[in-house]
C-alpha cells in the first residue's frame, strides 16, 4: 500500500483523497517512511516530519468538511532556497546554517494555502550555483537513476538536484525548484521528470534566497505534465512584495492540456545543433520533431543567431547580480560569524569560511566585471548582447508559436567525474538563452539513452504564453509514452 501511495500522480491522489480512499495523513506517512529508507540519496537537508503530520491532519479535516483546497493533502518537497517560517533555510551554504526565517516566502505560502503538505527542505547547489548538485555544503545529492552495465553514481543535475532526486525516487509527489540558467530544466532532464520555468514575473521572488534577481524564477518539478500544470497554478500570482511580480491573471494551465498541437507552428533553431552534438540527444530531438509533426503541428526551421553568446553573457550578468545580492552575508545580522580583529576583518573571515569555492568564484567574477574600468567593457556589453538575444526570440516568435530543443547536451554524468569549470557551465548551453530572455521554458522526459538514462526535450514559448507551452509539453508526453522510472 505504502509504495502504491508514493507512486501516485498529484492528479490521482487529489481525486482519491477527495473520495476518502485514504487519508492525507496516510499519504504523508507513506512518504515519510520512503524518505527514511532513501537517506543515502541525500535529497533532503532538513526533514520536517512533525510539521508534515500536523498539516496533513489539517488537510484531512478540510477534506472531511468538504472544503478541500486545490492541492489539499499533497506531500511536496521544498527546495531549501525558499524561506519557510520556523524551519531552517540554508541555501545549502555554511554561511546560512541554522538560519530560521520568522516568515514564509510568497511561493511556499501559496502552496501552504493550496493545502500542500511540506515534507522537508531539499538539497541544492550552494546558493543555486551549479549544474550537478555537488557544491552543497551538506554534500552531493545522488541521482536515483543508475546506468545499465556499469557501476557509477550519477549527479541529479543542478541546482534543484534534491528536488529532482526526491521527486524521481518518490520521496515527495512533486517539488519546488528555482531556475536562474537551467536549474529546474536540467535536473528534470537528468532525472526523467517534467520541469517548468514560467515567464519571469509569474512567480513571486519574495522570500526566495536571491542569486541573480533579473533571472531567478520559481517553478515545479513533477512526474508528469498535468501535475506541473496543477502545481504551477498554485505557485503563481501577483505579489505586491515583489516589484517584478506580474499583475496579470493566472490562466488555468490544466484546462489546455487536451487541446493538442494541431495547427501550431513549431520552430527548430539551427544554432542548437552544433557540430559534435551528442548523437543520442540529436536523435531524440529528431524524434520529438517527428512526434509534433505527426500530431498536426507545422515544423519551421528558424535561426536564433546570438545563441552561442548566451552562456558568456550569462556568466557576466548572473555573477554581477550575485556579487551584489550576496553582499548581505557579512556575519552581522544572521548566519555565520567568524570573529576578526576589526569589522572588515570579520566580514572577510566570515565570507571566506562561509562560502564554498563555486560561490566565491562567482562573487569574484561579479565583483571584477562591475569594478571601475571594467563595467562598460563587460557588464554593459553583456546587457547589450542580452538585448540581442531577446530580439532573436521576438523575431522567432513572430513566425512560430513554440520552439523545440534538447534540454541538456548529455544525460546525467558521474558524481566523481573530473569536470573543468567551463565544461560544467556548458551544461546550461540550451537552457540559458530562455533565462536571459525571461520566456517560459519546460523540460519533458522524452526517452532513454542506450545506458537507460533519461533525456529531456525543451519547449519554449513567448512571454506569458504558458498555455501553449503546456499544450506542446502534453503532446510530447503523449507521444513519448515515457514510462521510465528510477529503480526504487
Amino acid at each position: 500500500m505504502s509504495s502504491e501511495l508514493t507512486a501516485l500522480t498529484i492528479a490521482e491522489a487529489r481525486s482519491r483523497l477527495r473520495r476518502k480512499e485514504f487519508s492525507a495523513l496516510e499519504l504523508t506517512e507513506a512518504h515519510l517512511s520512503a524518505m527514511e529508507r532513501a537517506r543515502h540519496l541525500n535529497a533532503y537537508i532538513t526533514e520536517t516530519a512533525d510539521l508534515a503530520r500536523e498539516r496533513a491532519k489539517d488537510s484531512d479535516k478540510r477534506i472531511a468538511a468538504g472544503e478541500a483546497r486545490a492541492m489539499d493533502g499533497i506531500p511536496i518537497g521544498m527546495k531549501d532556497l525558499f524561506c519557510t517560517e520556523g524551519v531552517q533555510t540554508t541555501a545549502a551554504s555554511h554561511i546560512l546554517e541554522g538560519f530560521t526565517p520568522p516568515y514564509e516566502s510568497t511561493v511556499s505560502q501559496k502552496l501552504r494555502d493550496a493545502g500542500t503538505v511540506m515534507l522537508g527542505k531539499l538539497n541544492l547547489d550552494e546558493f543555486a550555483m551549479g549544474s550537478a548538485n555537488i557544491t552543497s555544503y551538506f554534500g552531493a545529492v545522488k541521482n536515483p537513476w543508475v546506468p545499465k552495465g556499469r557501476n557509477a553514481e550519477l549527479v541529479p543535475g543542478g541546482s534543484s538536484g534534491g528536488s529532482a532526486a526526491a521527486t524521481s525516487a518518490h520521496l515527495c509527489m512533486a517539488a519546488t525548484g528555482t531556475d536562474t540558467g537551467g536549474s529546474i530544466r536540467q535536473p528534470a532532464s537528468f532525472c526523467g521528470l517534467v520541469g517548468v520555468k514560467p515567464t519571469y514575473g509569474r512567480c513571486s521572488r519574495w522570500g526566495v534566497v536571491a542569486f541573480a534577481s533579473s533571472l531567478d524564477q520559481a517553478g515545479p518539478i513533477t512526474r508528469n505534465v498535468r501535475d506541473a500544470a496543477i502545481m504551477l497554478k498554485a505557485m503563481c500570482g501577483h505579489d505586491p512584495k515583489d516589484s517584478t511580480s506580474a499583475n496579470l491573471p493566472v490562466p488555468d494551465f490544466e484546462a489546455v492540456l487536451g487541446q493538442g498541437v494541431k495547427g501550431l507552428r513549431i520552430g527548430i533553431p539551427k544554432e542548437y545543433r552544433p557540430d559534435g552534438l551528442n548523437a543520442e540527444v540529436n536523435a531524440l530531438w529528431n524524434k520529438g520533431i517527428d512526434w509534433l509533426e505527426k500530431a498536426g503541428a507545422t515544423i519551421v526551421d528558424i535561426s536564433l543567431p546570438h545563441t552561442k553568446y548566451a552562456l558568456p553573457t550569462y556568466y557576466i550578468v548572473a555573477p554581477a547580480e550575485a556579487s551584489s545580492n550576496l553582499a548581505r552575508y557579512d556575519g552581522v545580522r544572521f548566519g555565520l560569524r567568524v570573529p576578526g580583529k576589526n569589522l572588515d576583518d570579520m566580514y572577510a573571515k566570515t565570507r571566506a569560511a562561509g562560502f564554498g569555492a563555486e560561490v566565491k568564484r562567482r562573487i569574484m567574477i561579479g565583483t571584477y566585471v562591475l569594478s571601475a574600468g571594467y563595467y562598460d567593457a563587460y557588464y554593459v556589453k553583456a546587457q547589450k548582447v542580452r538585448a540581442l538575444i531577446v530580439r532573436d526570440f521576438n523575431e522567432a516568435f513572430a513566425k512560430v508559436d513554440a520552439i523545440l530543443t534538447p534540454t541538456a547536451p548529455s544525460a546525467a554524468f558521474g558524481i566523481n567525474d573530473k569536470i573543468d569549470t567551463i565544461t560544467m557551465y556548458l551544461n546550461d548551453v540550451f537552457t540559458v538563452p530562455a533565462s536571459l530572455a525571461g520566456i517560459p521554458a519546460a523540460s519533458v522526459p522524452a526517452g532513454l539513452t542506450a545506458e537507460g538514462l533519461p533525456l529531456g526535450l525543451q519547449v519554449l514559448t513567448k512571454r506569458w504564453d504558458e498555455e501553449t507551452l503546456f499544450r506542446v509539453c502534453q503532446s510530447l508526453e503523449d507521444a513519448a509514452g515515457f514510462k521510465g522510472l528510477a529503480p526504487l
Binding site: 516589484s243 558568456p312 552581522v332 576583518d345 565570507r351 562560502f355 538585448a387 540581442l388
Partner: protein, 95 residues
C-alpha cells in the same frame, strides 16, 4: 587582458573575502580562464543596442509610500550573533 595577483587581491578586498597569499595565483588562473572564455562577446556588434536591465518587459510598479510593516525587533534580531539591548553588535569601529 590578464588578471594578475595584485588584481585578485584588489577584487578580494572589494568582495570582502579573505584570500591568503598562497591562494592568489590559483585564483588568478581560474579567473583568467573564465574571463578569457567570456572575451568572445567582443566579436558581437552591439552598436546602437540599448542595454537590457532587469528581466521583465512590464513596468515596475510603485506602491503608496506608507509604513506597512515593523515593530518586530525580536524577529529581526532572532538570527543575529550576540544581539544586545535590541541592537546588532559588531567589533568596535570607533576608538
Amino acid at each position: 587582458m590578464s588578471i594578475d595577483n595584485a588584481t585578485v587581491r584588489r577584487i578580494a578586498t572589494l568582495a570582502r573575502i579573505e584570500v591568503t597569499d598562497a591562494e592568489l595565483s590559483t585564483w588568478a588562473g581560474q579567473l583568467n580562464g573564465i574571463m578569457g572564455w567570456i572575451e568572445q562577446l567582443k566579436e558581437v556588434n552591439t552598436d546602437g543596442v540599448a542595454p537590457m536591465s532587469g528581466g521583465t518587459d512590464l513596468k515596475l510598479t510603485l506602491r503608496a509610500d506608507q509604513v506597512t510593516d515593523g515593530g518586530i525587533v525580536d524577529q529581526v534580531l532572532m538570527n543575529a550573533t550576540e544581539p544586545q539591548d535590541g541592537y546588532f553588535t559588531v567589533p568596535k569601529v570607533v576608538e
